[in-house]
Symmetry: C2
Subunit: 338 residues, 2 copies
DNA sequence: CTGAAAGCGCTTACAG
DNA sequence: CTGAAAGCGCTTACAG
């Protein structure tokens, strides 16, 4: 690694102090009334030496790194990957760089991740909080670290967040199924204390209740840390023990996909044997025969809002914005090819 | 943002110099023969004040940030998202943090991205290079920045890389189709100067040639920046003008998915109307009826190797490792549900 | 065994 | 209009 050129090198070459070089290169030549001739020579030297500012030194001095930390459950999950992409784009517009990490829905990993990001002095954090991490978020707030939660939130903590109207999402989806004629609708969700999951389950339950179908409520809750086994066992039990189930509603994208595999394994046809509503969409849903209906989240808006709010918090700390976005039901028709 | 506690605060509290605190907290109390009693008090104070080292200050002083930059084409693309996940995991094991960015296959974005990452003093870069960026890579090498290319490389540049044996991947896939009885095999690829794409096309061509099917070679090259239109036009033209085409081979995951949409639109059945071999796999392929065959890349190995090599380059700069990994053909059976 | 001091590469209040 | 100097929070050679 050969020595990088610094302000000092430019100063030496031009024969001025580093202060002047700093002013000019930061576009403050007007305010600081730097001589026109000097400005020109500094610019030229910087160009010739191909000067690149050392962001680390700058960060240390400015007490601001222009970096944001992004913690998602798993960057390999398409929903979070898309979210990350949007956040990356938006952050770039504001002159910020993104450091990311995956918590795997694990409290300890989340804590470790938050610590590394703080040690790297991120200016703020965008977090998809894992279950049981509310105390970690509270600690951040106590330290006055700008943070916005996305996708999930803790109702007991007063912190900025942007989430889906999860209750309404599944309420509407369930009503759609009921209106289409299904009565024995089962829901497949995660076992979780997180509000977004509880709300999704509640939306379904309330919709069933409103339609006097309370006795037909079936909720299967899969444990994150026993995903494979739980899914295989509980899902097939669900279907076998309840032959009358005529529709399935899934609480996340990953659950939807797993459900489809099971549906295929059991040679069930959608919608003849069982109707289907998934979460989040994706090529798998579009290419399925028939194309599958799903609850679509406004990922783009979610990403943009979370950055916008974070910038707001960074610039006027204290302000809290809590945004609830609406999902959209995507209803698919069967395309006949005969 | 309340003031964070620094080494100085601990030193003041204990009544020693910051040097001692630094030694102890970095586990050098033995080498530096710090008094046992002092060690204990420093540890206690650090604990009580909940000291967290400022990684930025440390980076500036050490001239090493323990950060690596990752540039992919698009983090929202599942292939790159998975690669990012593995790289994240591995980096963490080595005590490194990852900053990422998406180039969108765009020279200018790539250049801008490389610059921001360098200004942030990353210790090294893992890059999926976009077309036309070979000079950018050369510049990095000239500056002695540790870099390893992944997924793609430039044969004319002597730099560490880990890529797929692309030629063999499509050669084998084509032979598989031929051996299964298909003769009019068309390939759908990107228009690109990048070697990985050229090799994939060449593998196909050479396989056709070896089997005396040279006159049946059809290659469609889609332009990145006119993706939608190119795909729709050229693909339907390909099929319409060549009714005899009985098999399709796709050069990437994204192309495969687009191809499947077209196949469905045109009401073609796989494999009766046209056989299919895709790239990279994913739920869409597994859930398709019938399940689709594809060329599987060893993403896990790719990610792990790229970090391992980068660490090697960082620690003994000058060393160059070039790794070519083998893909695996995943052949699917039709599962009958009658 | 311990401390004073330099320095990483910047920015910026201050003095002139 | 310009420069000398302090300081961000660390690490580490040097002196004692």
């Amino acid at each position: 690694m050969q020595k990088r050129v610094s302000l000092k090198d430019i100063a030496a070459k031009v024969g001025v102090s580093t202060a002047l070089v700093s002013y000019v290169l930061n576009g403050q030549e007007k305010e600081k009334r730097v001589g026109a001739e000097v400005v020109k020579r500094i610019r030229k030297a910087a160009e010739e030496l191909n000067y690149q500012p050392n962001q680390i030194a700058r960060s240390l001095r400015m007490q601001s790194t222009k970096t944001i930390g992004l913690i998602v459950a798993d960057i390999a999950n398409p929903f979070f990957a898309q979210l990350a992409r949007i956040i990356e784009n938006e952050a770039t517009k504001y002159g910020y760089t993104v450091i990311f990490g995956s918590s795997d829905e694990d409290e300890l990993k989340s804590e470790a991740l938050i610590n590394t990001l703080l040690n790297r002095q991120v200016d703020g954090l965008i977090i998809v909080p894992a279950g049981g991490t509310s105390s970690q978020i509270e600690t951040l707030l106590k330290k006055r670290i700008p943070v916005v939660l996305v996708d999930r939130y803790f109702p007991e903590i007063s912190v900025s967040h942007v989430v889906l109207d999860n209750y309404k999402a599944t309420y509407d989806a369930t009503c759609h199924l009921i209106n289409t004629g299904y009565k024995n609708i089962a829901m497949v969700a995660y076992k979780s204390n997180l509000t977004h999951m509880k709300d999704r389950i509640m939306g379904y339950k309330e919709a069933m209740k409103s339609n006097n179908l309370l006795e037909n409520v079936h909720v299967t809750e899969i444990r994150h840390n026993h995903y494979e086994t739980d899914f295989n066992i509980t899902f097939s039990r669900l279907i076998k023990n309840n032959k009358e189930i005529d529709a399935l509603l899934f609480a996340t994208s990953v659950l939807s996909i797993s459900g489809l595999f099971q549906i295929q394994n059991q040679c069930l046809k959608i919608p003849e044997d069982v109707a289907f509503i998934g979460f989040d969409g994706g090529a798998s849903f579009d290419l399925y025969q028939p194309p599958l209906s799903f609850i679509q989240q406004p990922i783009d808006e979610m990403g943009k809002e979370s950055i916008r709010i974070l910038m707001d918090v960074i610039n006027n700390s204290g302000k809290i914005s809590q945004v609830k976005l609406q999902s959209k039901m995507i209803i698919r028709d069967i395309k006949e090819c005969n």
